[in-house]
């Protein structure tokens, strides 16, 4: 049976929507819920995770014929931990305040199952170009999901976006949205929206197939 050829564009795009790591595969939920209390924190965590995804994907793909199967997990974790450490230093060099805001979650990128999952499932089986596209798509999809959650929580919970006030003085902020439980509420609302859109898409495709079938008969 011939394998379906996947174009480079598909390799990138799949992480944005069809295989979105947060909204579809529910991977990396710990940082997605914990650090998304502001839009800027969400973007910073997304950018840090995307960098680690890209570098880990590239390294694992380049070394895929060098790493024996028995030593693959320890090798991947070592590579991922190295790039997380580099990101940790880089964020401290850019802004100590940002580093404090992201707290322990920078170090916890090491155990983000999204990165190990893409290294094992994709990068170790494909060439560096495809591995990079896959990592970039997943990283942008992850960042986008965190950003959407972060915007909702910051706007409702603090009445600001990127620290800029959006509402008149009388606006009563929903404090619960910046608390940990707010992460679950925002996540649930976005999941509802995403699943509703996907259901509509599936129904439309089903109808199109049925109509095509009727037309053919």
């Amino acid at each position: 049976m011939a394998l379906k050829q996947v174009s480079s564009t598909d390799e990138f795009i799949k992480g944005l929507w069809r295989d979105n790591p947060v909204f579809i595969h529910m991977l990396g939920l710990c940082p997605a819920l914990a650090v998304s209390n502001t839009a800027i924190n969400a973007l910073a965590m997304g950018a840090a995770t995307t960098f680690v995804l890209l570098m880990a994907g590239l390294s694992v793909s380049l070394l895929r014929n060098f790493i024996p199967r028995e030593a693959r997990i320890v090798s991947y974790i070592c590579i991922i931990a190295t790039f997380v450490t580099c990101v940790d230093y880089a964020i401290m060099a850019i802004s100590i305040e940002l580093h404090r805001a992201l707290g322990a979650f920078i170090a916890l990128i090491v155990v983000n199952c999204l990165i190990l999952g893409r290294s094992e499932a994709f990068a170790s089986k494909h060439n560096p170009g495809r591995a990079l596209l896959d990592a970039l798509g997943m990283g942008v999809g992850f960042t986008g999901a965190l950003f959407f959650i972060g915007v909702m929580r910051e706007v409702l919970g603090s009445g600001t976006l990127f620290g800029v006030g959006l509402f008149p003085d009388g606006f009563q902020t929903w404090t619960v949205m910046v608390l940990p439980s707010g992460g679950f509420f925002a996540m649930a609302i976005w999941l509802l929206v995403v699943n509703w859109i996907r259901q509509r898409q599936a129904d439309a495709e089903k109808q199109a197939v049925e109509q095509a079938g009727k037309a053919a008969s």
Partner: protein, 230 residues
């Protein structure tokens, strides 16, 4: 019908295992050390700026500071090089002594917790508090940075010395939430018990070490000539 021949899997040699793990380890070590070297200067500058802002936050009247240390005889002297846990004398606009700022550290739940707090010579009390570094559980241990009733402990936490001026008159301790009865007790946080207790240990240890020398020597301390740290 003949049974299918078993698929032969290539066995990985010990050399291949060593080669890959040691090779990747060496590459990773080289990369980490290189990035560390490349960013160390910038990180040190950022930390110094952050510390300066933190001092202004725990002691708003401060205009300049002098880092101090204790010599072999326990006498307060100007620090010759930055310490990992520094203490500062803080001066106001007219050069008057407005307080001291102390950094101290103790083990929390996950890792060391480092805090910065200010001491008022007039009130003989701790009057400001800020967590400098923590890796405590997000949402639980990090409540020591945000919980209003906990932060209220440090508006005037009694830290007076005994009559001889050699030690704290009363040990600073963290008590269970809602059980604070004395001004030297810290009202703890339910759900962040270990971390809030660690803050009590930090305050007690830091104050026991620094306050006898600060109370004895700070008022007569002559800051070194030259511009003070802004």
């Amino acid at each position: 019908m003949n049974a299918p021949a078993p698929i032969e899997q290539k066995r990985t040699s010990v050399w291949e295992m060593y080669r890959s793990i040691v090779g990747i380890g060496a590459f990773c070590a080289l990369l980490i050390v290189s990035v560390y070297q490349g960013t160390a200067g910038r990180i040190a500058d950022n930390k110094a700026r952050f510390l300066s802002n933190a001092i202004a936050q725990v002691l708003p009247d401060v205009q300049s500071t002098v880092e101090v240390s204790l010599d072999a005889n326990g006498v307060l002297v100007a620090a010759t090089e930055p310490a990992s846990l520094p203490a500062f004398l803080a001066y106001g606009e007219d050069g008057e002594l407005v307080g001291a700022v102390i950094t101290a550290q103790a083990m929390g739940y996950a890792d060391n917790v480092t805090v910065l707090y200010s001491y008022s010579f007039d009130l003989q009390a701790i009057v400001g508090f800020m967590v400098l570094e923590t890796k405590e559980t997000p949402g639980l241990g990090d409540k020591v940075e945000t919980e209003p009733h906990f932060l209220a402990n440090f508006e005037a936490l009694d830290a007076r010395l005994n009559e001889e001026g050699t030690a704290l008159a009363n040990a600073i301790v963290t008590v269970k939430q809602g059980e604070k009865t004395e001004p030297w007790q810290i009202d703890g946080i339910t759900g962040a018990t270990i971390t809030s207790e660690a803050i009590g240990v930090i305050m007690h240890q830091g104050s026991s070490y620094w306050l006898p020398a600060l109370e004895r020597d700070a008022r007569s301390f002559q800051p070194p000539s030259g511009p003070l740290d802004e």
